[in-house]
Amino acid sequence: MKKILGLFIGCAMLFSACNPGDFGDINVNPTAVSSVPNSALLTNSLQQLPGTAFPGTAGNRHSADMYVQYISEGPYPGSSLYSDQNFDWSLHYTGPLYNLQTIIANANSGSPLAEAGVNGSKDNQVAVARILKAYFFWWLTDRYGDIPYSEALKGDGNFSPKYDAQKDIYYDLFKELKEAAAQIKTGEVGVKGDQFLDGDMAQWKKFANTTRLLMSLRLMKNDNAKGKAEMADAITSGVISSNAENVFYRFLSSDPNNFNPWYDNYTTSLRNDYAISTVMTSYMAPKNDLRLPVYGEVLSGRVVGLDYGLNTAKNIPGAYSRIGDKFRGAGSPALVYSYAQVLFTFAEAAKQGWIAGGDALASTHYANAIKASLETYGVYSAPTYATYMGNADVTYNAATALEQIMTQKWVHLYLNGFEAWSDWRRTGFPMLTPAINGNIPTIPRRMGYPTNEKSINGKSYTEAVARQGADNLTTRIWWDK
């Protein structure tokens, strides 16, 4: 008996002697990558880029397209009635922003994950990541106003980052974009994993400068001096200067994981919930705007708009024009920045005296912008353009020029709701009537913070609300005051 007991204890000792805590690499997942190079992080971050300028319906981001009344809702009016008050942002902070932050950290720490041969030169990696980071932050702050910025993206360094004042964020973003553009080394290997600008570092410079140009305009109401200075500097640094330089995000018609979001919505998910609005059609149709049959589906020879802002339920297919095929093909690209957009910006800046030239130059930029827009949508021809420019309310008129510029810019920015909404907030143009059955009597001027911020980042949230104003759709953000 003792022998047996001894044997058993012996076995137990043997068991402990062979280190029962050593499991080799059992706990390494063979079906997940264990580390990710910067190029793959960049690809991943860029996959979220079109959601900003071509929002689709994910995360209720189509609300912006509703605010500027590009599209109307059929059976389930909701977003167009301003029913969404709170919008999540976790996708952007934890997705592209943190990935971009990781790219910078990898490159700066000399990690093998940032190795130049497969990722592009270190400076170029960092520069592109900084530019994109600034771009996403810009887009976020324009939606909400004050947001976590200086203390954000620090992981366990700070799980409850404070919200920064929008002014501070803007100032820092200008600096970031400027520094990052300067960091670009066109002579070195461009970034890899870049399905957006294909590693063309000169284009990245222009992207950064164009971002700064568009940002500067936001300060029209509130901070003229800074806005003017940044605009002048951005222009000098070089912005998009022809339609050939338009930047598109290309979706892949061959790959369901990279489909156009409107294709996903209409065709994959079979949601026929959205149609072009009568606000668009009634402005464009009387002028025989050749962009209209591109913007909306042609039904029995015409584009049929759906009334905007009503609470009545309507079925769309066959009855109202869905958005046009050029915007909702599986591989239809998203226009992110365009030459026309830059020219409209110039026109506005000239008209407002931010850049030289006054009405004369404003008028030229305006006419060229419309031409560039028609070209962008593939409907330009000299005679039709001339006819179009001859429309009474299209012909440049110094007295109503700002409205004309902004209204034409709005037409051009079709389905880039966020940009058009910011323009509207700054200038009040185009003239829009709030949704008749809207939950609030006015068009929203910001989006509400994510529903759960109050519980998971309560102190910072409360502080931000105290500074900025109530967390609703009507509080004006800093540059809108």
Binding site: T43, P75, N86, S160, L299, N311, N437, G438, I456
Partner: protein
């Protein structure tokens, strides 16, 4: 099925021949105590194989070989008795109550059988026959109401899904379900053959489960299967049942108004006529000239998947099918209610559940071989399952020292058309269609013919003929295909093969020591596919899936047992190595199929989706236990276990935890007359600690594989922050209780109180996403779970003809979030639409429902966003916990002469769930609630401009008074969704779950048939939802998809069946 029956009868026949005997002994068995007959007493020939059991009248009749001379009578709770057979062949015996009745043995952790009185913690047991009263097909629902502290998390009775249970409420931030063990081998509950179950012990708290280590935190269901008997005659048990199943509960649909959107408008306008009909307006520029005659015909909004249309009063109108080319084109039909349309869709389900078992043994051998076939079709057309199970267990004493044993079970199961559950946008959940998005006037028989003569599909949900005369456009379905097309053409198949088994050695060293060693395996292999057919709204697709998950356990224990005078000492030390491996491969076509209904991955139009999931884990353990007993009075147990888990960080992967428990049988101290009142009494107390680990691959921050873009790989940083240094978590548990029985055990109470503190849990706590992560994995928090459980068992009536025994259980449990982590006071558990979510908040009971409430001004007036009457609302309102206040059940069995009646009930008080079905059913005008009159006496659905509408009063945001009538849909759809309370439903219920009425066929009627017992019965499963606030909305709260929410709840069904049990 027919074949199976044939073979069963053949077996019966052979049995009758094989066991023909030579003389017949008859007699009656009674209890000495009261002289009443004892049914079910086992009567066996000593040293032989023949045996029977007594009938309800205590009588038996047994043919024995001429050489046999002694019979052995055994009955639980009585002393075994041997009696020699007199020459008269008539033998009456009376059995004596066993004083050690209360030393009834019970199976505890690691399969150890213990005397119940020696346990220092609560264990409750259910005998097999009480589990399968109405042939319930899964263990979880068969336990409902029978064990105190078990909360059923059912699944809809109209699916094949197994239910789940929660034991003692929720101990962590997330919900976990118990571990299922069959004869020592961990397995899935689906692998258990219900007719094989001898008994189930439910180990509830950490003190009972400590020896199972970390994965038993949510309790353990220890299943003991029936074994062959060493002394018994070979036995054949046949258990046949067939049953029919039908829908028992549907939402209360309204049957007055047809489909459409007209009740969304305040006036007819130019769109509708005054009755709410949509009108066809002929336009020469749009429509064929032949349609001019249709001008001003009444149509409805076919594209609406809602029922806010005109009243159904038999008016002539154009149904959807009158727009399809063919004989019906252009025809008017009268608009009439179809109150049974949903019922007409469903079929009567049928099931056959048959088993046969052969068991027996001799001095050295026991064996039991069993087979079960379950074949079931659901109420959903086209859904069926066929399952075969074969089981074998046996033991063989090779010599006086060494015994080998095995217990294996093989299950093969083929399922077609498992119903789709939940809220989906793919149109595959037809119940969601019927109860959330439908038109009430639809005739199901019309939908049945979903193919047009040209082979294309039709749908009730077509477009608007006003907009175009082109049928290829207006016939395009808007949101829904025919439900019959979905059920018949869009379905999955699933094949599962599972093996569970063990092989064990037991070597007796001497009278004190023995060694046991087992290898146990649990293998699950499956493959399945899902087809979405061409022609419908969905992009056609084909998906295949293969999975395999295996668990191996290798264990060895050295056991000892020794008694000295009044002291007994026993225990063991042992070790276990467990490995778990799982992998899964999924392939799915994308972008469509190259040829119509060519279901193959190679038919993928674009690059197919493919995914492999793999996981592996190993846990190594050593453990030991020592039990000490003094007289039959004082017992003390102590256990110690150390685990090493591969899933933890290497530096922290070893953890040790103890438990101690004690039991004091105070009734041993009682003397004299009081013993007649208190027949047994015991106090118990236990402390235990249980450590727990992680799932595999969760130590370091994950890399999330992204979607490759062209040739650019894509990946991102995972959303959970991890330090790589997480520690094992610990649960501390204290449990005290008492068991008291009175009046010679006619009534007994078992009361338990427990407090668990789950400290230093491994939490994925929500953090501000701006940090770059949505959650952070940390060790923190304290979730305190406490509660009490009461089980009452009794025999209210027991006399010569009538025996009634009853068991009542009751439990109250509360899980309180005591603390989370520094600076964090909220853990997000789950979210649903419209700002609804479940949060665990510090200082609050587990599971707070957070949602919307209408905004009120300072005077308490309802605020509207404008005078148009859309409700204003606030978010983040706490609407109370979703957990129940208490749960329980009642089990009853009665027998009167040969008739027996058994039924079980269960109940839950409190708790709530969020219902999307109610939200959309009300919102789309499908439910009876949406047909009401306003204060003018007019239907709310009438246009407000004509005197209808819903009367609302309040103020606008700027304080202007609101006093108006709004369109009904705005009230029920738009405003309804702004008050979460409308769809947060009380989950209380009282339910009669199963009933069986049986008749034991008297031996006299069986004549010369060599049948030991035969019982025929009728049974009802899911018998009657007696009372539940959710009932009027069509829900049985014990069958929810998820206990706190449902998104497209499938219907409840009731099953009626016939059951025949024959013992040979």
């Amino acid at each position: 099925m027919k074949k199976l029956l044939q073979s069963l009868f053949l077996l019966l026949f052979i049995a009758f021949q094989a066991f023909a005997q030579e003389r017949t002994v008859t007699g009656t068995v009674t209890a000495q105590e009261d002289g009443l007959p004892l049914p079910g007493v086992s009567v066996k020939v000593k040293g032989g194989t023949e045996g029977t059991s007594t009938g309800a009248d205590g009588r038996f009749s047994l043919r024995i070989p001429s050489g046999a001379s002694t019979l052995v009578f055994t009955y639980i709770g009585f002393r075994t008795m041997e009696s020699s057979v007199p020459s008269s062949n008539n033998l009456n015996v009376s059995l004596v109550t066993d004083a050690t009745l209360l030393s009834e043995v019970i199976v505890t952790a690691l399969g150890e059988t213990r005397e119940r009185k020696s346990l220092g913690y609560s264990v409750q047991e259910v005998k097999g026959e009480n589990l399968t009263v109405a042939k319930s097909m899964d263990i979880s629902s068969s336990l409902a109401g029978k064990i105190a502290g078990v909360q059923l998390q059912g699944s809809p009775s109209s699916t094949f899904d197994n239910a789940n249970i929660i034991i003692r409420g929720i101990g962590g931030l997330d919900v976990s379900n118990p571990l299922y063990i069959v004869d020592g081998t961990p397995t899935l509950q689906e692998n258990v053959m219900m007719d094989n179950v001898e008994s189930i012990s439910v180990l509830k708290g950490p003190a009972a489960t400590a020896l199972y280590g970390n994965r038993a935190g949510a309790g353990v269901i220890v299943i003991t299967s029936k074994k062959g008997s060493r002394t018994g005659a070979p036995r054949i048990d046949v258990n046949l049942s067939s049953s029919l199943e039908d829908i028992s509960l549907l939402p209360s649909y309204q049957n007055q108004y047809a489909g459409g959107y007209s009740s969304n408008s305040t006036s007819p306008g130019s769109t509708y006529d005054s009755e709410g009909f949509y009108l066809f307006k002929y336009k020469s520029s749009t429509h064929p000239t032949s349609w001019a005659a249709f001008n001003n015909q009444r149509i409805i909004d076919y594209g609406a998947d809602e029922s806010w249309g005109p009243k159904m009063d038999g008016q002539p109108y154009r149904p959807y099918y009158s727009w399809y080319p063919g004989a019906d084109f252009g025809k008017l039909e009268s608009l009439t209610p179809q109150p049974n349309n949903i019922m007409d869709f469903f079929e009567v389900g049928k099931s056959f559940n048959n088993s046969i078992a052969v068991s027996g043994g001799s001095e050295d051998i026991t064996y039991r071989l069993s087979y079960n076939n379950l074949s079931r079709s659901l109420v959903l057309p086209g859904a069926n399952r066929n399952q075969h199970q074969i089981g074998f267990n046996g033991s063989y004493g090779i010599n006086s020292k060494l015994t080998v044993s095995t217990d294996i079970g093989y299950t093969t199961r083929n399922t077609k058309g498992q119903p789709t559950e939940g809220y989906n946008l793919d149109g595959l959940n037809v119940t969601q269609n019927f109860s959330q998005w439908f038109q009430r006037q639809l005739d199901m028989n019309k939908l049945r013919n979903y193919r047009n003569p040209d082979g294309s599909l039709n749908s009730w949900n077509i477009g608007d003929p006003n907009s175009t005369g082109d049928p290829s456009i207006y016939l395009q379905p808007q949101y829904w295909d025919s439900p019959f097309f979905i059920a018949e053409q869009n379905y999955g198949t699933d094949i599962r093969n599972r093996f569970v088994g063990n092989m064990g050695f037991k070597y007796k060293i001497n009278d004190i020591f023995n060694v046991t060693s087992f290898v146990r395996m649990n293998l699950n292999e499956g493959k399945g596919n899902f087809k979405v057919a061409n022609g419908g709204l969905q992009v056609p697709s084909y998906e295949t899936m293969q999975l395999s998950n295996n668990e191996m356990n290798y264990e060895a224990t050295l056991n000892f047992k020794k008694g000295f005078n009044n002291i007994s000492l026993d225990g063991f030390i042992g070790g276990n190595i467990r490995t778990n491996k799982a992998d899964q491969l999924t392939n799915r076509t994308t972008g469509g199929l190259t040829f119509p209904n060519f279901f193959d991955i190679s038919a993928s139009v674009t690059r197919p989706f493919t995914q492999t999931i793999y996981s592996a884990k190993e846990v190594r353990s050593i453990f030991g236990k020592a039990s000490f007993g003094y007289k039959a009075f004082l017992y003390l147990d102590a256990t110690l276990r150390n685990d090493w888990s591969s899933a933890l960080p290497v530096a922290n992967n070893s953890y040790l935890y103890p438990s101690v428990s004690t039991s004091i049988v105070f009734s041993e101290l009682l003397k004299g007359g009081i013993k007649d009142i208190i027949s047994f009494g015991k106090l118990r107390a236990a402390f235990a600690q249980v450590g727990s680990d992680l799932n595999p691959y969760q130590v370091d921050i994950a890399i999330d594989n992204g979607n490759i873009y062209g040739s650019n790989p894509s990946a991102g940083i995972g959303n959970q922050f991890r330090t790589g240094a997480v520690l094992p978590a610990l649960t501390n548990s204290i449990e005290v209780g008492t068991e008291i029985r009175f009046l010679k055990d006619r009534i007994g109470f078992d009361l338990t109180y427990y407090v668990d503190n789950n400290i230093n849990q491994i939490l994925g706590l929500n953090v501000a996403p701006a940090s770059g992560f949505t959650t952070a994995q940390i060790n923190a928090g304290n979730i305190q779970r406490k509660g009490w459980e009461l089980a009452i068992t009794g025999t209210p009536v027991r006399n010569k003809n009538f025996i009634w025994s009853s068991a009542f259980s009751f439990a109250k449990t509360e899980s309180l979030v005591k603390e989370l982590a520094e600076g964090l006071d909220t853990y997000l558990y789950g979210t649903q639409r419209n700002d609804f979510r479940i949060e665990n908040q510090v200082g609050q009971p587990w599971g707070q429902a957070i949602g919307r409430l209408p905004k009120l001004d300072a005077q308490g007036k309802t605020v509207y966003t404008s005078t148009a009457g859309t409700l204003d609302y606030t978010i983040n309102n706490n609407l109370g916990s979703v957990m129940p206040d208490f749960t329980g059940g009642l089990f009853n069995s009665m027998s009167y002469k040969g008739i027996d009646l058994t039924f079980s009930m269960d109940f839950q008080k409190g708790g709530q769930f969020y219902s999307l079905t109610k939200m959309y059913g009300d919102g789309t005008g499908l439910t009876a609630l949406t047909v009401q009159n306003n204060d003018k006496g007019n239907p709310e659905r009438m246009f407000p401009s004509l005197g209808g509408g819903v009367h609302i009063t309040g103020v606008t945001r700027t304080g202007a008074p609101v006093d108006t009538y709004i369109a009904a849909r705005r009230h029920y759809y738009t405003n309804g969704q702004r008050d979460t309370r409308n769809y947060l439903i009380d989950a209380s219920y009282l339910k009669l779950r199963e009933v069986r009425l049986g008749y034991t066929i008297p031996r006299s009627l069986l004549g010369n048939l060599k049948v030991n017992s035969a019982n025929i019965g009728v049974m009802v499963n899911n018998a009657w939802l007696i009372s539940a606030p959710a009932k009027e909305f069509g829900f049985d709260p014990s069958e929810l998809e998820v206990f706190w929410r449902e998104g497209g709840q499938l219907s409840s069904t009731r099953t009626f069946g016939l059951n025949l049990r024959v013992g040979l």
